[in-house]
Each structure stands twice: as C-alpha cells, then as structure tokens.
C-alpha cells in the first residue's frame, strides 16, 4: 500500500486528493493535511463581502466529504518536509501541527510515498506596514475578501459606509496593497460589486470609488493583458476595462506600490518614482502572497529549505528558473509536470509552485522598487494542474517510477474566467473571458503571444448567470456528489 499525502485542501489540493483517491481506490492511502475545517469556494467571497451571500453559502465542512471519499483527513498545518527521512529511517515524512479535531497544538509525523504541496499562499499582510497587524494577520485599517471570514468582516464595514453615504460623502478605495500582488481579478470584481450595491442602495452619488493597482495598465490582470475577440472585432483588455471603469464612474490609479497604510490613508510610490497619498473611508486591499513558510530538512536534520523552495517560499518544480531578461522569456520556461527536480516524489500544484518568472512585463520605479503583478495560479489552471498531478502520482504508484507523467503547462492551456461586476437575477453583470494560452507564447503567436480565435470575452447579464451557476456547480463537485467527475475543472 502506497501513501499519498496532500498538504492543503483548496481548489488544487482538493482536486488532486479527491481524484487520486477515486483512481487509487482502497488499495492505497490518501491523506489530506489542511488547517481548515471547511472548504471555501473563494471566487464567491466577493459576494459575501457585499452581503449578497452568507458565509454558509460559500463554505462546507470537509470532514464528512473526506470520510465519504475514504480520505484520511487531518485538520492540521504542515510544518516541515523531511524528504530523506531521518537518521534511523529512510522513509520520507512531514511534520504537522493540529489545529482541530480535538488535538489542537499536538504535533505528529506522517510518512509518505508521494507528497503534493498544495498549501496555497500565506496572505502576507505584513509586507506592507499598516496593512497587517504585525502578527501576520489583517490589520485594522483595511478589509480583505481573501477568506470567507475576511469577506464577512468586509461586508460589516461596507454596510456602515453605505449607511453613512446616505447623509455624507464617503470614499472607497479598492485594489492591491503592495507592488508585488496578484489576484487583481478579485479586487476588480469587488469594486464593481460595491458600485452595484451602492446604486441599489441609492447612495452612489455620495460614494467616490477609486481603484489602486500595481498593474501598469488597467486590464493587465497579471497576465500581461489580453486581446478579446468579439465577432469580427478585437479589443484589448485595457480598452475593455477602461470602458467599464468610465461607464461605472470609477476612477483609477495604476503602477502603484502601496508602501504604508494608516487610518484612512494609504501612501504609495508610482512607477515613475513619485510618491503620493490617497484618503479613504473604506479600503479593500489585496495583500501580496508568499509561501506558507514550510521548512525542509535533510537526513541529518540540517535545514535545506532553499534547496527545494524558491526564495519566495514556493516549491521549485520542473520550470526553468534561470534568471534572464524579459525578451528571453519563453513559454517553455513554465513547468509541465510540477515535479520537484531534486525529489521526484514531491509535486506542487496551484499557488504553491514557484513560477519561473512573471507573465506581465517586469517594471520597477527609478528607486528600484519592483511594481508589477505576479503570476496568477488560481481558478481553472490550479484545478487542471491538481488533476494532472493526481494522474501522474496514480500512474507512478500503479505502474512504477518510470510511468509517464501527465503534463499541464500554463503556456499550453486555456482558461476561462467569469468576473462579476454586480449580483442580481435581472440586473447583474459579469465579464466572461477566455484566454489561450494563459502564459503567452511569443514564438508560436508572434506579437501578442496568444491565439485570437480562442481568446474572447463578453460582459452582460448572461455572464452573471453563468457565474452564479458555476458557484453551485463547483460546490456540488467539491462535495463529491453524484457525477462530480463529469464537471470540468
């Protein structure tokens, strides 16, 4: 009997664990280690953040689902990896520290034959003074929608602002809280959902809404922007986004690294090196992501974290990490199998794998401050990668270590994204976009790096319906209800 241990139970980890268990059956063991007791459909958190969904709508308990699937579930956080075992044993293992199941604070060693790192990111609020509380958590000046609880808190604060806006001017600031953030899409959705709710509440005229972002142009989204084909026409995501911002009366500031947050005020540095301040009554700023701080030790107990993890804390995989200038970046730099080059029984999926470089054009201010979006590895790609890695591990277990590994390069996969711009059965809107490939391939598609025939988008009510249907569909899938394997990632 082989044992697969999956660290993390988010979109990619849950996908990898559940598919692996389905394919491996009862002959082999799948263990999931995640500090959370509940699974969260993160894309719908923005609706919790504006009071259009409850927390219960976007989460469900993991334990019964894993019990049904026959997966060994440990509510614990992974602390360290020991790929070579220890002095008296060659069996690799990880150490965990329980966060639930009545064993809070207890530590344990779990041996593995194969390990998938799907820990997701650490929400690195403290990277920006004032954005965090100094202890790694969200600070007191701003809100977040990164978790369901954050979103719940965001809504409570937002409702106060909407109430105040009935009698006085209020200013809302939404965007990224650092020059190296990703997930601009979530902030994009949140700002337009706030705008939508303000209109519904009849207080839009009293609400100044502003976007602040580390993108060098609106519509970059961390993937260097895209061109959207609509019928016979094509438009860049820059024009697409700017049109939406103008139409909804939302002002914007881009190329900004937020370097300090105070009560009612952010300080920022722009790409041209100039600095400025922006006041707010309510601010939702996405924090930068970092690795969760896992340590790695060799057989003798010596720290070798930098051997398998990149400096940002994400796990190294089969990518080309050679430092090279922007013009030499290639699609082939991106990983295909997500296997660690040093230890072939370790894989990383979703946000946990270290990307070889940015997707957007790298930019920095004259002061040397890097200000550019980091690559997104969330949503559809993370699910696809999780499933491909599960497939690889299953083949390795069943067919031996020479089994062919399954591939899912972000430079060869397309992705669909439905970004909400307001929730409502008849007045909701969402932008539905597809992009192929996610990472531009400038050799295959000279100029824009993508295939215009497979990169298109629309905004409208139907998009909102699709977003809402996807919400139910993916939660249905994650609960492993009948036919769950038929629902694509």
């Amino acid at each position: 009997m082989a044992r697969l241990v999956v660290m993390g139970g988010g979109v990619s980890g849950h996908t990898a664990a559940t598919f692996a268990k389905k394919w491996l059956g009862s002959e082999h063991e799948v263990v999931v280690v995640t500090p959370n007791s509940q699974w969260n459909w993160i894309p719908s958190n923005i609706w919790v953040g504006v009071g259009q969904m409850t927390k219960e709508d976007v989460v469900f308990p993991l334990a019964p689902v894993y019990e049904k699937a026959g997966i060994d579930y440990r509510q614990a956080k992974a602390v360290s990896i020991h790929p070579e075992g220890k002095a008296d044993s060659d069996t690799p293992y990880i150490t965990i520290e329980y966060t639930g199941q009545g064993k809070e604070g207890q530590t344990e060693e779990i041996t593995y034959d194969y390990l998938i790192n799907a820990t997701g990111p650490k929400l690195n609020f403290d990277a920006t003074p004032g954005l965090g509380n100094g202890e790694g958590q969200l600070g007191e000046h701003t809100v977040s929608v990164c978790t369901a609880d954050h979103a719940l808190h965001a809504n409570l604060e937002l409702q106060k602002i909407l109430e105040k806006a009935k009698t006085e001017k209020q200013k809302v600031l939404v965007g990224t809280g650092h020059g190296m953030c990703t997930c601009q899409g979530a902030a994009f959705e949140y700002i337009f959902n706030i705008e939508h709710e303000a209109r519904k509440a009849g207080v839009r005229d009293n609400l100044e809404i502003k976007w602040i972002s580390n993108e060098s142009f609106l519509g970059d989204f961390g993937i260097g922007g895209l061109h959207i084909k609509r019928g016979m026409y094509a438009a860049s995501s820059k024009l697409f986004a700017e049109s939406l911002f103008v139409e909804r009366g939302v002002d914007w500031l881009v190329g900004a690294h937020v370097n300090k947050v105070e009560e009612g005020k952010v300080h920022y540095e722009l790409l041209d090196g100039s600095t400025g301040e922006e006041d707010f009554d309510f601010a939702m700023l996405i924090p930068p992501f970092a690795g969760v701080g896992l340590k790695a030790y060799d057989k003798n107990g010596e720290d070798m974290t930098d051997k398998i993890f990149a400096p940002n804390g994400f796990l190294k995989v089969d990518a080309d990490y050679t430092a090279k200038p922007y013009e030499e970046w290639k699609a082939s730099d991106w990983p295909r199998t997500y296997q660690n080059p040093t230890y072939s029984n370790i894989f990383a999926v979703g946000i946990a794998f270290a990307p070889p470089h940015l997707i957007s054009k790298p930019m920095s201010s004259p002061n040397g401050t890097p200000i550019n979006p980091t690559p997104p590895r969330t949503g559809m790609p993370s699910g696809i990668i999780g499933k491909a890695v599960a497939h690889s591990v299953v083949d390795l277990i069943k067919n031996g270590e020479n089994a062919h590994l399954h591939e899912a390069s972000m430079a060869e996969m397309g992705a669909a994204c439905v970004a909400s711009a307001g929730k409502g059965l008849t007045d909701g809107t969402a932008a539905a976009l597809t992009v192929y490939p996610v990472v531009p391939d400038f050799e295959k598609y000279p100029g824009i790096g993508r295939d215009l025939d497979y990169t298109f988008g629309e905004i409208g009510l139907a998009g909102h319906w699709i977003k809402h249907i996807l919400h139910h569909l993916f939660i249905y899938k994650a609960k492993l209800k009948p036919g769950w394997t038929l629902i694509p990632e």
Binding site: S236, L253, F442, K481
Partner: protein, 273 residues
C-alpha cells in the same frame, strides 16, 4: 523608409503587443514611422498603423519627434474633449474624451526607461492617447458613444469604406445569433435536469418546469428562424461551405433533437405534478 498606411477597414489594426527586445530593428522601425509621418504630414503615428504589431509610436511635439515604446499612463486628470482626426479613418473627425494631465512611463528606442509629466498641451495629450488606443488594440472610435460611432461608420460606408465579406461567406453572420441564443437556452434546459438533485421548494421547481415548457417551443422557433435566414444568406453569398443547405439542416436537426430530449427529460425529471 516610408511605409504604407493601413486604412479602415484594414483588419491588421486589430491587435499588437509590447516590444520585448530592443535590437536595431526597433530603431529602424521608429525611423520608418517618422519618415512616414513626414511624407503624410502627420502629428502622430503608431507602429500598428504601418502594419507592425508592436506597442510603439511617435508623437510630434512642436518640431520634435518623440518616440514611445511600451508607454503606460499611470495617472491622469483634467478631462477635456478633443476633436481628433486619424489617417486610419480618412476625412472624418470625432470628439473624444481625453485627459490633459498625465504621468507617463515609457521606453526609448534603446529600451531605456523614461518618464514624462505632460500638462498644458492638449493637442499632444490627445495625440498621445489616440496612439495609446491604437498601440494596445483599438482605435479612437472605441472611446466615443455609440451614436457618434455609428454616424462615423455610416459616413465611412458612404465613402465605400466598409468591411467587405465579398463573395465568400462572412466569418460571422447574423444567422449565428439564432444558434447562439438556442444554445444558451439548451444549456439552461440541460441544467434544469439537475433539479432533482437539489432540495428546492415546490414553487421553485414549478418555475423551473415553466421555463422548460417555454424554452422547448422557443428553441424550435429559433431553429425555424435560423433555417429561413440561412436560406436567404445562401442566396447572398457564394463559395460558402457554412451556408450550404446540408450544414444548415444538420444544425437544425442537432438542436431540435437536443430540445426534444431535454423537454422529455424535464417532463419526467422536473415536472412537479
């Protein structure tokens, strides 16, 4: 070297990307753009307007030709309306919303990062922003309201400048709207079959079933409309495989069968009575 200007409705204007490497070809293209501007007496010209799909352009400010590669506008303020012309749309002008004050970051022909605070020169600001529209995929017509845009497109059509599908079939025709709408309805009909898996209230199930009852004849009606319009198009365009009657019959049969299957499924699975 003077380059040939693209003129509406030339589709090569559609999309371009950032300049990635700064070798001598970048400087050569800037020189060609400037030569072309001088020949045609233009105040601004982008690479995409001479059919090179790169985010670079030149704007004339007083007597100086300023070269911009990969420009970005970080901050803008002081909105105004500019009356603009473009060599891409000959003999027309449009009133376009622009900003007078801008913080700009860009690269020169050698890839050196440069910065500019532009303020007080509305003509330069308008030209710069018009070029920005071109250089990231779009034109100034994407910035104006639908009525003004339609007036301009009508005027261009009056000059004989209109996208020409020619004798071959268009890549997108109106009959596809029928199919697209029918597909969306079929998608929701299919989804409605999942109703028994959820614990909906009876009232909700009745609404879902009512949708199915309306959707079924609607899909059949759309397929009839599709077939009649496709028949009309098949007379209009020649050498058009997608307009052939056989293909159209196939489209109609496929969706009609799907509608019947979904309707039967709804009758047995969704019907609350």
């Amino acid at each position: 070297m003077v380059k040939e200007l693209t003129v509406y409705p030339d589709e090569r204007i559609l999309a371009c990307g950032d300049v990635r490497g700064f070798d001598e070809s970048v400087g050569k293209l800037f020189d060609d753009i400037i030569d072309t501007m001088k020949r045609h007496d233009l105040d601004a010209l982008s690479a995409i307007q001479v059919a090179h799909p790169f985010n670079m352009f030149v704007v004339k400010k007083e007597d100086q030709y300023i070269e911009f590669a990969n420009p970005r506008i970080l901050q803008k303020s002081k909105p105004f309306e500019a009356e603009e012309r473009s060599s891409y749309y000959p003999d027309i002008s449009a009133v376009v919303p622009r900003f007078e004050k801008m913080k700009i970051v860009y690269e020169d022909r050698n890839g050196n990062t440069c910065y500019m605070d532009a303020d007080g020169d509305r003509h330069f600001a308008a030209m710069f922003q018009q070029m920005m529209d071109f250089s990231l995929g779009g034109t100034m017509l994407d910035r104006i309201d639908k009525k003004q845009k339609q007036r301009i497109l009508d005027a261009l059509e009056g000059k004989g400048l209109v996208p020409q599908p020619g004798d071959v079939c268009p890549t997108f025709s109106r009959k596809d709207y029928f199919v697209s709408f029918a597909d969306k309805i079929l998608f929701f009909m299919g989804l409605s079959l999942l109703t028994p898996l959820f614990k909906f209230e009876k009232n909700t199930v009745e609404h879902i079933y009512m949708f199915d009852k309306i959707a079924f004849p609607l899909v059949l009606a759309l397929m009839l409309g599709f077939f009649l319009y496709a028949f009309y198009e098949s007379k209009k365009y020649k050498q058009c495989s997608s307009c052939q009657v056989g293909n159209n019959i196939g489209v109609v049969i496929k969706r009609s069968v799907a509608a019947v299957v979904f309707a039967l499924g709804a009758y047995f699975l969704v019907n609350p009575n």
